[in-house]
């Protein structure tokens, strides 16, 4: 392909003083001086987190305080960087939620590995894990950045239980018992 050489136009007198450019720049600065401020004084001021934001994954409880995770290990399976480690356990037969049968004995998420993809939230059949608003983490050691179950619940808080699957199940069992 042939190429064309463009002649650079010589600067005129006004341009050679650079004054028009400087004045335009100052005008813009002056105009912005009286606008609403957009700079965020992070970390003293925190940004507003939009809906659907994917911060760090956390575990949540239902409104009655039952831990929703049943340690099905699907999130452990789906997690691309293998950040999740679960040791499943059995709920004792005399416990409040004995009819759920299974809960995690240990649940660790390595936050240094997590890539905030949200797959765990997507795959969870019990709606027990959610990526919430926290986005900035720091620690002094790698071990500290592996968040254990207690910490994940503390950060997760309580979420409404739309389906109430286990509640309904308990109710059905009680009704059946009442009818013999």
């Amino acid at each position: 392909m042939a190429f064309k050489i463009l002649e650079r136009k010589p600067l005129n007198w006004a341009e050679r003083t650079y004054l028009p450019q400087i004045i335009t720049g100052l005008k813009i600065t002056l105009w912005n001086l009286f606008q609403k401020k957009v700079t965020l004084e992070y970390p003293d001021v925190r940004p507003v987190i939009p809906e659907g934001y994917r911060g760090i994954p956390t575990l949540v409880k239902d409104p009655k305080g039952r831990e929703k995770c049943v340690s099905c290990q699907l999130c452990e399976f789906v997690c691309p960087p293998k950040a999740i480690r679960i040791q499943p356990g059995e709920i004792p037969e005399d416990a409040d939620y004995a009819h759920v049968e299974k809960a995690p004995k240990q649940f660790d998420i390595d936050m240094l590995r997590c890539i905030y993809c949200g797959f765990c939230q997507e795959v969870c059949p019990e709606e027990a894990i959610f990526l919430q608003n926290d986005f900035s983490l720091s620690g002094y050691s790698r071990e500290e950045m592996v968040f254990p179950k207690a910490k994940l619940y503390e950060m997760g808080g309580t979420f409404p239980d739309q389906h109430n699957k286990w509640g309904k199940k308990q109710q059905a069992a009680e009704e059946a018992k009442a009818h013999g």
Binding site: Q73, P88, E93, E175
Partner: protein
């Protein structure tokens, strides 16, 4: 269409012709043809009850004129097929010449959708807490034929959950699809008829007969064959999801039956042992006692260091020291019926290199149960015969060795995995001689030993066993052994090569097999890589006169085995 030389008949599956043996179950015939007929209650090793209806298919047969017996020919010049107006179950249909079936027609698919919907009507939404998830037929077929949502607005039935049927099996009745496989297994295979259904219709419930427990030594097989998560193993319950488990083919070392197994592990930890189908040995079963053998591998008693006089060394140092002791002569070798064929061969080589005074094996016996546990609890006594390590059957007591030590005839003992204090040689006596001990766990022999070689268990190494039928079967390493412990073949091989002079020690079973090919005529055409997954029969007729202690068991009859041996010999 009938009567071919090879006695196969033609069947037509989805309009394609296939040859199968007459009388083949149509579920199996379809499998041979590469088509799947979904099924729950049918199991290849149990009787057919036909109660789940999942295997419905369309059935047709070639038409004949009633009066003349002539085939009716259609316009295309082919024999006309009379299709039955209603679907039939495949599991209760046997192949006959000319049978036509459709496994994937509109009607068949509708039947499956219907059966699935009924099965799921009362099924709990338990998959997240159900151990069967990932290997559940109901899940799989629900993905293929399920509706995706439920039209059932009434309450689901409530049935007992978390019921202990016995010491090892847990029942969740809500998940049971009433296929009766477990009932038939107990009755037909385990001969311990303790399970049954009570109540009727959708209230039918699986339960143990009053006052009975499901506690026979085969109870966990019901867990394997239960197509859903109704029966689960108490031991494996909630330990690990099955999709994380890696299956390694192995052989159960419980007895000389040589049950084929899968070792299921994740990241170097074994979670369970399941049977591997071998129609010549264990069908699809395994005794419960064989499933827990892996539990001993991860204990504090494991030997993990090569030692000389109690101080740590490396394998080469230990081998050199052992060779020096052995060269002094007056050596007795105690082999093991639990060692692999390869190890026994190398041990035999060492014994002959040092001109051992005696080579013995320790027998382990118990009661045979007539099924999959034999009286001989050593998995590989026949391997010791074939490799020439021993020529007669072993005894439980090494009294002869004890008196030989007493008289000063024996000065060095090499024991491979056997605790001599358990078989009639006192610890004080052992202290008088030099003991070289190869073992996986600490015991009194290891304590007095001058040189100790830690060894691996059957779960951590590769090798072969020869079972009671003289079937050579191989096992592969499922998990890594303790850090720094080399495979037994390597440590024995190193010792062997020092004693022999120059030979390069083998690094795995392949190397040993290359040697055994030339040394042992029965092994001439075998290489380790290509040993079939179901094992191969070795010609053991030379030893059939020995008074083996095994009685009858599944697929083994001591009297009949002589005939089988004779045939193997003839065919060679």
């Amino acid at each position: 269409m009938t009567g071919r030389d090879d006695n196969l008949i033609s069947v037509f599956i989805d309009e394609e012709e296939f040859l199968v043996p007459p009388g083949t179950n149509m579920v199996e015939a379809a499998r041979l043809a590469g088509k799947e007929i979904p099924h729950y209650c049918y199991h290849p090793k149990l009787s057919v009850t036909g109660n789940c209806r999942m295997c419905l298919m369309e059935l047709g047969m070639p038409l004949k004129d009633h009066s003349t017996g002539e085939p009716i020919i259609d316009r295309r010049g082919l024999q006309k097929i009379g299709w039955m107006p209603r679907p039939a179950i495949a599991c209760a249909t046997r192949a006959f010449p000319g049978i036509h079936i459709k496994t994937d027609s509109e009607l068949v698919r509708e039947c499956r959708n219907g059966v699935m919907e009924f099965l799921l009507v009362n099924h709990p939404l338990d998959c997240p807490i159900c151990d069967q998830a990932g290997e559940c037929s109901l899940q799989e077929y629900a993905a293929d034929y399920g509706r995706g949502y439920s039209r059932f607005v009434e309450n689901k039935n409530v049935k007992p959950k978390r019921t202990r049927l016995g010491p090892r099996v847990m029942l969740d009745d809500e998940r049971c699809i009433l296929c009766s496989r477990c009932i038939r297994f107990c009755k037909e295979i385990a001969k311990d008829d303790v399970l049954g259904f009570v109540d009727r219709g959708s209230y039918s419930t699986l339960t143990c007969f009053p006052g009975k427990d499901l506690q026979n030594n085969y109870s966990l097989n019901t867990v394997d064959i239960c197509p859903v998560g109704a029966l689960t193993s108490i031991d494996f319950r909630f330990k690990m999801r099955v999709w994380f488990l890696k299956e390694t083919p192995s052989i159960c070392a419980e007895s000389s039956v040589g049950v084929n197994t899968h070792i299921e592990s994740r990241e170097g930890k074994i979670y369970r042992i399941t049977p591997r189908r071998n129609d010549e040995v264990n069908d699809t079963w395994i005794p419960d006692s064989g499933r827990i053998l892996y539990k001993s591998i991860d204990t504090d008693e494991r030997l993990i260091h090569y030692t000389i006089d109690g101080s740590h060394t490396l394998v080469d140092g230990a081998a050199k020291e052992a060779a020096t002791l052995l060269r002094e002569g007056a050596v007795a070798v105690v082999g093991s019926g639990r060692a692999s064929v390869e190890e026994q061969y190398l041990l035999g080589k060492i014994a002959s290199a040092v001109k051992a005074i005696s080579v013995s094996l320790v027998s382990r016996t118990g009661d045979g149960d007539g099924l999959l546990v034999s009286a001989d609890r050593n998995p590989n006594v026949r391997g010791a015969l074939l490799t020439g390590l021993i020529t007669s059957l072993p005894h439980a007591n090494l009294g002869g060795l004890a008196s030989a030590i007493e008289s000063g005839e024996v000065r060095t003992i090499l024991s491979f995995g056997e605790d001599l204090t358990q078989c009639g040689v006192e610890k004080q006596l052992l202290e008088k001689v030099n003991v070289i001990y190869f073992g996986s766990h600490c015991n009194e022999t290891g304590e007095v030993a001058k040189v100790v070689f830690p060894t691996l268990t059957v779960f951590e190494k590769a090798g072969t066993f020869i079972n009671q039928q003289f079937r050579l079967q191989k096992f592969l390493p499922a998990v890594p052994g303790p850090q720094g412990v080399l495979p037994d073949i390597v440590s024995l091989g190193k010792l062997c090569s020092i004693l022999d002079g120059e030979a390069i020690p083998p690094t795995g079973p392949e190397g040993v097999w290359a040697e055994m090919n030339t040394e042992i005529p029965q092994f001439s055409a075998i290489d380790f890589e290509n040993i079939p997954i179901n094992g191969i029969l070795i010609d053991g007729s030379q030893w059939e006169h020995l008074p083996f202690i095994e009685g009858m068991s599944l697929h083994y009859d001591p009297d009949n085995n002589r005939q089988i041996m004779a045939e193997v010999t003839k065919s060679k």
